[in-house]
């Protein structure tokens, strides 16, 4: 088994899959980070992904264009986020409960729509849907080993890397970033400064909807080439846990998403080893929860140690 793992971790093929698996979870984690910074939990990321994945497939099949499919998918992702905003911000419902309700609705709703159109409850393979292109990156592809990992990925993988930069700039370099933080940290202070907290929260919801929409389209138009029922597979929920691991930063999101990506890719490889597939499929989630627990424990421990140290430091007065 050790030999097997060593050969897996050494292969560029494995890391290629890691990057591919990380991209969608990275996108939704960024979405979760942005809304959390503004003080609203977007539990409906899962629903956004599902509708985006389905809408992307349908629109690309009808128009024959993956780009129109992508645009329509993103619009669907944003729509779900806006519905959450409408209920949570305008009608004062609990955001987490609305999010879960929307996810349940999405799980059943996407299958219903799929069945109504294709007559199949499981997969959209009867539709001539398009996929988003792979990109071979000049220069990068010529680097030995690394080129094999990073070049030739789907367009959305590169977009997810760009998203990290964009979110980092929004949160740290732009005026709106300060306003987002003010809203999340002390909503009264934000309001007193003439900021409309609801507008800020809607803004972050739209961003998270775009990101989740992008992730959803990737799943059905790149990662695989069909919509299948439950295609998001809980990634929207994982994102809300990963957001904590990310510590509220765009850069931290990469690390948090990688935990999922590394194990998700590993599961793909382990399937060839004759382990029960159900167990293997559960692995990425188990590891994410474990990562979540470990990071929280480390933070708590560090916090306690820091306190003791700070206190002991006052001894030599």
């Amino acid at each position: 088994m050790m030999d097997f793992l060593a050969s897996v971790f050494g292969s560029s093929n494995y890391w290629f899959i890691v990057v591919r698996s990380t991209a969608p979870i990275l996108l939704v984690t960024l979405g979760a980070v942005v809304t959390e910074q503004a003080g609203i939990k977007n539990m409906a990321l899962e629903g956004s992904m599902l509708w985006a994945a389905l809408t992307g497939v349908l629109a690309s099949a009808w128009t024959g264009s993956p780009w129109i499919g992508l645009a329509a998918g993103i619009a669907a992702g944003v729509a779900i986020a806006l519905i959450l905003g409408l209920f949570a911000l305008k009608l004062d419902a609990n955001a987490v409960l609305v999010g879960i309700a929307l996810n349940l609705l999405s799980t059943g709703g996407t299958v219903f729509v799929l069945f109504s159109i294709t007559g199949d409850k499981g997969i959209s393979s009867s539709l001539p849907s398009k996929v988003l292109p792979m990109v071979s990156v000049p220069l990068l592809r010529d680097i030995p080993w690394l080129g094999k990992v990073l070049s030739g990925q789907n367009l959305v993988v590169y977009l997810s890397a760009a998203a990290v930069v964009v979110i980092h700039v929004i949160l740290n370099k732009m005026t709106i970033g300060r306003r987002i933080r003010a809203t999340g940290e002390n909503v009264e202070a934000a309001r007193a400064a003439g900021i409309d907290p609801d507008r800020i929260k809607f803004f972050t919801l739209v961003i998270s909807g775009i990101l989740a929409g992008l992730a959803g389209c990737f799943l059905s138009m790149g990662y695989t080439s069909n919509f299948t029922s439950g295609i998001s597979a809980g990634r929207g929920y994982v994102a809300n846990a990963a957001q904590v691991v990310a510590g509220g930063t765009a850069v931290g999101s990469i690390f948090a998403a990688l935990i999922f990506g590394v194990t998700d890719a590993l599961a793909t490889f382990l399937q060839s080893r004759g382990l029960p597939p159900e167990l293997i499929q559960a692995l990425p989630y188990a590891v994410t929860i474990l990562g979540f627990v470990v990071v929280t424990l480390i933070r708590d421990k560090r916090e306690a140690a820091r306190k003791l140290k700070l206190f002991a430091g006052k001894d030599d007065r």
């Binding site: 005026t175 300060r178 400064a193 003439g194 306190k307 003791l308």
Partner: protein, 518 residues
Amino acid sequence: METILQAVDLCKVYGNGTAANKFVNLTVRRGEILGLVGENGAGKSTLMKVVYGEEAPSSGSLLLDGKPVRFGSSRDAIAAGIGMVHQHFMLVPSLTLAENLVLGREPRKKSGMYDLDRAVRIAEELSAKYNLRIIPWARVVDVSVSMRQKLEILKTLYRGARILILDEPTSVLTPQETDELFAELKALRDKGQTIIFISHKLGEVFQLCDRVTVMRDGAVIGTHDIGDVDRQTISNEMVGREVRLTLDKTPAAPGATALEVRDLSFVDDFGITMVDRVSFSLRKGEVLGVVGVDGNGQSELVRILTGHARTLTGSVRKGEEDLTNAPPRRIRKAGVAHVAEDRMTVGAALPASIADNLLADRYSEPAFTGGGGFLRRSAIQAEAKGIVERFDIRCSSPNQSVASLSGGNMQKVVIGREFTAAADVLVVSQPTRGVDIGAIEFIHRTILSMRDEGKAILLVSSDLGEVLSLSDSLIVMHAGRIVAWFPEASAVTDKELGLYMLGLKTQDEKEIRKVLHA
């Protein structure tokens, strides 16, 4: 002097039928400091909310520079040149002072990005112009309360305020910081600013204001030039009857040690040592006052003593019993009662009834819980009725929810429960915060009568006058440490205390150790 702001026959009736303002007429002159005084619920806050655009008046009008104005929100009021410094600061802790200052009206680079350098420069310039010293690049969590307040004032000035409303600004300051603030406010006034100063501390109103307007029951009772009135007149106008401003207090007869506190320490989430090896002994039959600027460890000390926080070091003992880091229930069982500083979150369960709140610490006693764990409603009602009468809690029935009571009556519920608990040690924190003068008088007398019964009382309050008049002896806390002990509270002046509160003076170790009474 010309009038800058005027309220004419202003009424505000809330949805539930409460008339918070009844035909209020208020005149504010350009370049004056106007004091607005009144008990809690007198309508000061409502009036200011209307002026600041947070509430729309039901009838009547508001004139600014002689022209009628109607504010849809505080944004309109800010645009018209009205600024407000709230009692609870409206700041974002993790952002810097400069970032907080410009929040909502941020400077941008040509590229449209946030311009942090210019934000700092703006802060430096404003700070110099109005002589309100702040550190622009420090984060709000790291600076003192008085600097946060200066920042709040600068925030309103940055937004172009000509009329500045200050809501109880001195409640978090030491006497020295208060003097400093008053000097700064007078300087602002001399530069042409108009200031409305809301307070219930009459001494400060007389020290600072040019005129004073008194409110009671939603109406303006009178407006006076400060030179033409005395404190007694204003007090009587506020309460509507003769008030006794002094307490009759007999000398204390301290007995044996009731609570032995040794070497307690606490570090908060920001890594700041809030309590630093605090030791004292609390004796029976005495009120030991704890004095300090808010945020110097008093709250954390109380939380450790009552089981709401864990100490890193040391011990708490009551007789033979070790109460170090014990849960609240065991501490209560051992005979330590706790009047929490925040009645809204810790002291009372707001949606629950008065009776349920009064019996929250004793419902499981056999007298109230019969066999099989069923509550005995009649016994509970009888006990609650007794406490309601004894503590003069104004309500229609003990089954009314605590949330529907006024601040003063809510506090009486908390006091009623804790003072009738089977306890001989009382940890009392901020007993009269936000309570009207009538109830304050009552609570103060009750605390003294508990002392005369031989109970040991630890009194923490940010109202210096209150601690000084009730305490027998005093400890002063600064930066989490006990910096002074005074065996005779009556022999100390507030100016002297201020020096210790600010950490400018510290008694030597030997003097402080005397509070151990060992």
